[in-house]
């Protein structure tokens, strides 16, 4: 039986991996053609007063003089060889430009993720278990405020408070741990509030179920109730929202990075789209999609382990 389960799990994993690859291909293709619709980079890159001939030559240099389908095949060919192309603007391999920026964005996103999961799940649990008592009365307004604060406003206000008024934290740029605090808090505030709300909702929903009443009537205390009975049942919605927040953190860091002049991927993204730097945009999209798909895959696998009733394992393998 155990071997059968393992085989099913392996089959499931294989199916999902295949689907993930298809998703990755879908993203890449969609972005490739969307970019080609968005305008001619040669026009933008050409210096002031360039003649039509100059622009045509530039187009040839960039490999844009052939048909879109030809470009697409060239692109896929490069992709299969791990070549994401050269940046039109910075004349460096897109991959190396990106990898210079990755550590900064990862630092920021990780710090924000830890902050938001710890505070979000903690606050959500506390609120649900103390419905109507002081922990909820104190935390709920905080959560509501956190959720209503747009990241860029939070960021500006934090800068106003801690950098302009108190002068204790740097306002912009990257320089060690202290410079991470404001951007991470800015980025985490919305996610933490969202996670707290979802956690609270999920726990409250479960508290209405029969098994909770049964456990309570058997004398289970709150701690036991949470650990033994609730944790597993609320883990699915929490996992769902955390997985979505991971994508948000990685993607949504664009605004935060702009405010704090953080040298991460967000800035590079805006620059590359502004400059119609096709290879760079494609590389960033592929990378971001890859990260997201991996997170998603892990989440889906975790679902099946956490809640056997979501019998995706058998079903997915069967399809």
């Amino acid at each position: 039986m155990n071997r059968g389960t393992l085989a099913t799990a392996a089959g499931y994993l294989g199916t999902r991996l295949g689907q993930a690859l298809i998703a990755l291909w879908g993203v890449t293709t969609a972005v490739f053609f969307a970019l080609r619709l968005s305008g001619d980079p040669a026009q933008l890159l050409a210096p002031q007063g360039a003649t039509q001939a100059d622009i045509a030559r530039l187009r040839r240099q960039l490999g844009l003089d052939v048909s879109v389908w030809h470009q697409y095949l060239n692109f896929l060919d490069g992709l299969l060889h791990g070549d994401l192309g050269y940046s039109y603007v910075q004349h460096e391999p897109a991959l190396s430009l990106i990898s210079q920026r990755i550590p900064y964005t990862v630092d920021l996103a990780l710090a924000a993720l830890v902050l938001s999961v710890v505070f979000g799940v903690g606050a959500g649990m506390l609120m649900a278990l103390n419905r109507g008592r002081w922990p909820e009365r104190v935390l709920m307004p905080v959560v509501l405020v956190g959720q209503a604060m747009p990241a860029f406003w939070t960021g500006i206000l934090l800068v106003l408070l801690f950098s302009v008024t108190f002068r204790i934290l740097p306002s912009t740029g990257y320089g060690g741990a202290t410079s991470l605090i404001l951007p991470a808090v800015t980025l985490a505030s919305l996610s933490a509030a969202t996670i707290a709300r979802i956690t609270r909702g999920a726990v409250l929903e479960q508290l209405g179920r029969d098994y909770v009443r049964t456990a309570r009537s058997k004398g289970a205390g709150t701690g036991r109730l949470v650990v033994r009975h609730l944790a597993r049942n609320v883990s699915v919605p929490i996992l769902t929202v955390v997985a979505l927040e991971v994508a948000n953190l990685l993607g949504g860091s664009v605004v935060t990075e702009l405010i704090f002049a953080w040298p991460g991927l967000g800035q590079l993204t805006v620059q590359s789209v502004d400059g119609r730097d096709f290879p760079l945009v494609q590389a960033i999209v592929i990378l971001a999609a890859l990260v997201y798909i991996v997170v998603n895959l892990v989440t889906d696998i975790a679902y099946a382990f956490l809640d056997p009733r979501i019998s995706t394992l058998g079903k997915a393998a069967g399809t």
């Binding site: 209503a148 209405g208 948000n248 664009v254």
Partner: protein, 347 residues
């Protein structure tokens, strides 16, 4: 397109169903939603009446009066909330900014929610290749970071109000789809759905009577979270210069302009931010109240032993009643989505 109408019809029946179950909390829920509703209504009113109540033309630059603080009077013009770097009245611009925020957020939530729930329920109910295709497309849409997709869409289509809505809806529908899908997957394994399947209920009936009532509260909660978020996202897009284009006023672009003067002109980042914050907070609180009324399980912890005479399962649904035509889907069937579970609760 028929999908949207199906979802809308489901949304219409859901609020009516759980209400009888929630007597003690309804009143407090209603009162709790009153103030946020009033605030949202006020914002909508301001948005509608912006041309009437704005003291100045929002785009009129008065360079002599530039960067004057709140309550400042410059050559006979009184600026309650001060002026920006071009001497434009902050209050008037904030009034006009509400139009953009409200229109974009509402349109986005309706479009993405209706579409997202519909395809999510389809995917969860039919599973198989429908489920795979829908969820893979959702994966693809989700796996592009929001701002990247936003920037791409705006770059391709050009920045405008409609394009911002398109772009946000394009990014946000998978949220509803994933929640709906997960909820349907869970619901379809539960006793009352299996029971309904076992007694031969038609799929559409099960979905509208048993599955949608489980999905919609979640979807509405998502939608309320989203409504506030969409206000924020529109502002974010305008903040990075991809939303509404200048000189049209938007809170996001006002904040972006004001950021350069953060150390000297605090009012430029404070008032548009407050306007934004107030609207989002009110929308979120209103959403909470709505959620309390929609969630059928909410009252259960308070009154776990709800009395309902044993052996009185309510009237049989249309498709079961002999002589009733199968096309009338819900002529007063069970009083709520929780009804089929009552026997087990009382056992």
């Amino acid at each position: 397109m028929s999908g949207a109408t199906t979802t809308a019809a489901g949304a219409g029946t859901a609020p009516a169903a759980p209400v009888p179950a929630a007597e003690p909390r309804v009143r407090s829920g209603r009162r709790r939603g009153l103030i946020p509703a009033a605030v949202v209504a006020l914002y909508v009113l301001v948005a509608l009446c912006a041309p009437l109540i704005s003291p100045f033309d929002p785009d009129h630059a008065d360079l002599v009066a530039r960067l004057s603080g709140p309550f400042a009077s410059a050559h006979g013009h009184f600026h309650l909330l001060g002026t920006d770097a071009l001497g434009r009245d902050v209050l008037s611009r904030a009034f006009y900014g509400s139009r953009v925020s409200i229109a974009v957020a509402a349109a986005t939530v309706v479009v993405s929610g209706a579409f997202g729930v519909f395809v999510g329920v389809l995917a969860g109910w039919y599973r198989g290749w429908v489920g795979v295709v829908v969820m893979r497309v959702a994966d693809i849409a989700l796996s592009v970071p929001f701002f990247l997709l936003a920037i791409l869409v705006v770059a391709v289509l050009g920045p405008s109000l409609v394009n911002v809505v398109i772009c946000l809806a394009l990014v946000r529908w998978p949220r509803y789809t994933r929640i709906a899908y997960a909820s349907v997957l869970e619901t379809r394994e539960r006793g009352f759905v299996r029971g309904a399947v076992a007694v031969g209920a038609p799929g559409r009936w099960i979905v509208t009577r048993h599955v949608l009532p489980e999905v919609l509260p979640l979807a509405v909660v998502v939608a309320t979270l989203e409504l506030g978020l969409m206000v924020v996202f529109e502002a974010s897009l305008s903040f990075i210069g991809l939303g509404v284009q200048p000189p049209t006023a938007s809170w996001g672009s006002m904040l972006s302009d004001g950021q350069s003067y953060v150390a000297t002109a605090w009012w430029l980042v404070t008032f548009p931010g407050l306007a934004l914050f107030g609207l989002v907070l009110a929308v979120n609180l209103l959403g909470d109240a709505v959620r309390d009324r929609l969630d059928p399980k909410r009252s259960v912890p308070k009154r776990p032993f709800r009395r309902r005479g044993p052996g009185r399962p309510g009237r049989a649904p249309g498709w079961l009643r002999p002589g009733a035509s199968g096309t009338a889907p819900s002529p007063g069937g069970p009083p709520g989505p929780a009804a089929p579970t009552h026997p087990s609760q009382e056992a």
